[in-house]
Symmetry: C2
Subunit: 413 residues, 2 copies
């Protein structure tokens, strides 16, 4: 009973979500190292600097169609009543020849992707002319540069093709390679070690439960720029926990510890952390997840979350996002969109509420249906969730029809 | 010139998008094998059958808070004017002990996650009672089952926790493990081999261009249930191409060949495929991508797409999606949402148009801004795209303010 009273005092020290996020922004975290890697290996990583195109793309004028390259001066008078016939003097196919032997009054057969010889300034589609052996006949004057993609039309040397602190997508790689960029500066992957604690996770426990929290957090976090992994399971023993955290801190940028703390009973994690860290904050006014504590150990964050899978994942991700933004400058951590609430939601005064949301693609837009949960651990509530809605502690409720921001769950959904 | 005329005939055989999708649905494709794997390895895979919970979760009544487990019959008269004091007779912590020694008139200290002994039917939060050494005092009667998550509250044996043909998310795994399911039937990963063709991709080519298409398609496709990989680069030589396709067909469910075909010049891929396959369709009324041809070779699809990266990726994915749906029954291939068009869009009559869309999270909902492209290959247009909008060939245009369905680009964005 001593413990429960001791911890009750702690309950009063909960800070607001905004204050907690502020403290994360204002802590001097170690920054993940920047590394220069080959563009082809950079998918999903966070860029560590602006990148601009080194050269034009396409590097030369190229044909967008199959047809005939012409010089407009040879077509000037073409009309229905005055058809113009041009003799062909050769052929250009992509990658096959850089044919350029323009002769006044002649045209060149050309295929999609072929380099348009410098003497030509339009390509007439094959469908738009009468083709006879050795020559073509046209009945209208093409527009200048018709069916030609000009050098640099797509990407021009100096164009911004990858902004600092953004996630590298497949097409960023295409743009980088196409414009002559071979290596790119990125942040190393953010390594996250997830430790679970709890006697109930061991096979000799009375009331053993499966260790789902560790797996859930690892799976939820893993993305191109994050490398999350299980980093052990400890008993409710502060020394065992501390040893495991120390190992995980050596190998990772960030450590998450599940269980081993509660408002009442368990305090093995606080005990384990007391000598090796400072408390950034000990609990925040959020639901679920108010007991989450953030420690700083030699510039690295250690997140202590509850052992209950869903609430610990949801609340942890809110703070981890802020940490990632702070150390990498990343702007969009998960895609956020605007939706319309389907029904009233009441929110406990003072607490920022994290709500699971089912998105319905309606006739007029996205409809957000807040999923009712009973019990903080509701796994079933996740099964039809598409994302989360956070209602600030200053707002006691929202009404049906209000517009809200929903943060989509990551990769697969 | 013979070639360009021969191919012009083919142009007339383009079928509608709907017809092309119908043909994909109606072709007898080989189905990816089903395999039974451990739940922990199933992230991102497509389930090959409904899965229901084997057992209840939680398996027993457990406390949602730190506090005191009571039997309501001992609290009946509690009120402000008639406070009730209960002696504590022990403690329950998660995984530590399954204490159950109920004595009438006594309560048990309990911590979050602790198993509530069968004799108790409510837990009073520590904050809601006066705690003194050895006993607690309450001034109101708790509701029955207050602060208790009852056995099976979250998942009940027999509940559907994973529907057939859906992508397995992190929380599906949590639900499966929590309810006693250890293995799950999934489709093997759909293996896609991507072959690039074109003399212009080789270092000795005049007008060499980097092979970005292969990398783009591989990166774009790769997800939990797809394993895409580069399967070679061939010259514009039908025999070389056919040999490469034959190898790729042995190793993959599906093959994509970029380049080597156009309305006019190149016909190495048709030549390579002529002896080893049937044509499912040869060109469809879509823009971009009308030259895409789909072959069927011994039950496997071979997609022949242009060599231009962005249009080939966008058009290919439309048909590949239908193939995946057909062979696995998958419902949501990529997330689709409703947005409001920011400005008028005109669509070429007869052609289903694939438009790149930038989504803006507005005050009232998502706004879809169609990105203008010049030249079919526009890489730059992708850099700010969030997804695609397909306008059917029967629709000549959409007006600002209309609601449209936008299919979001996958994983990272």
């Amino acid at each position: 009973m001593e413990k429960i009273r001791r911890k009750m005092g702690k309950f009063l020290k909960l800070i607001s979500l905004d204050e907690a996020l502020d403290r994360i922004r204002n802590t001097a975290w170690d920054t993940p190292k920047k590394e220069s890697i080959h563009v082809a290996s950079s998918l999903g990583r966070i860029s560590a600097g602006d990148v601009t195109a080194k050269s034009n793309f396409p590097p030369w004028n190229r044909s967008l169609v199959d047809g005939f390259a012409v010089n407009l001066s040879d077509c000037k008078s073409a009309s229905d009543t005055n058809p113009v016939t041009l003799e062909t003097n050769g052929v250009v196919e992509a990658g096959r020849s850089r044919f350029d032997k323009y002769i006044e009054g002649k045209c060149t057969e050309i295929y999609t992707g072929g380099i348009v010889p410098d003497s030509y300034d339009a390509v007439i589609m094959a469908e738009d002319c009468i083709i006879e052996e050795g020559n073509i006949t046209i009945t209208s004057v093409p527009k200048q540069w018709a069916n030609i993609e000009r050098a640099g039309d797509d990407l021009r040397g100096g164009d911004m093709i990858l902004a600092e602190s953004s996630v590298i997508k497949p097409w960023n790689i295409t743009a980088l390679v196409s414009s002559g960029v071979e290596t790119v500066d990125v942040f190393e992957k953010i390594r996250v070690g997830v430790i679970s604690t709890g006697n109930e996770l061991f096979s000799d426990a009375e009331g053993k439960i499966p260790n789902t929290t560790q797996n859930l957090i690892v799976n939820y976090l893993n993305r191109g720029f994050i490398e999350a992994r299980a980093a052990g399971i400890a008993h409710d023993d502060s020394r065992e926990i501390r040893d495991m955290i120390n190992v995980a801190l050596k190998e990772n940028h960030c450590v998450v510890v599940t269980g081993g703390t509660s408002l009442g009973g368990k305090d093995e994690v606080p005990e384990a952390m007391s000598e090796i860290s400072n408390v950034v904050f000990g609990g925040a006014m959020i639901r679920p997840g108010r007991t989450m504590t953030l420690y700083e150990s030699d510039g690295k964050p250690v997140f202590s979350v509850s052992g209950v899978p869903v609430p610990s994942m949801l609340s942890f991700d809110l703070f981890f996002e802020e940490y990632v933004r702070t150390v990498t400058g990343l702007k969009e951590y998960r895609k956020t969109l605007t939706a319309t609430l389907s029904s009233n939601v009441s929110n406990k005064a003072g607490y920022a509420g994290i709500y699971r949301v089912n998105l319905i693609s309606g006739e007029d837009g996205e409809v957000a249906e807040v999923i009712k949960t009973h019990g903080s651990g509701s796994i079933s509530s996740m099964l039809k969730s598409d994302g989360t809605l956070v209602i600030p502690g200053t707002v006691e409720g929202l009404e049906a029809g209000e517009h809200v921001k929903v943060k989509l769950f990551g990769d697969f959904y």
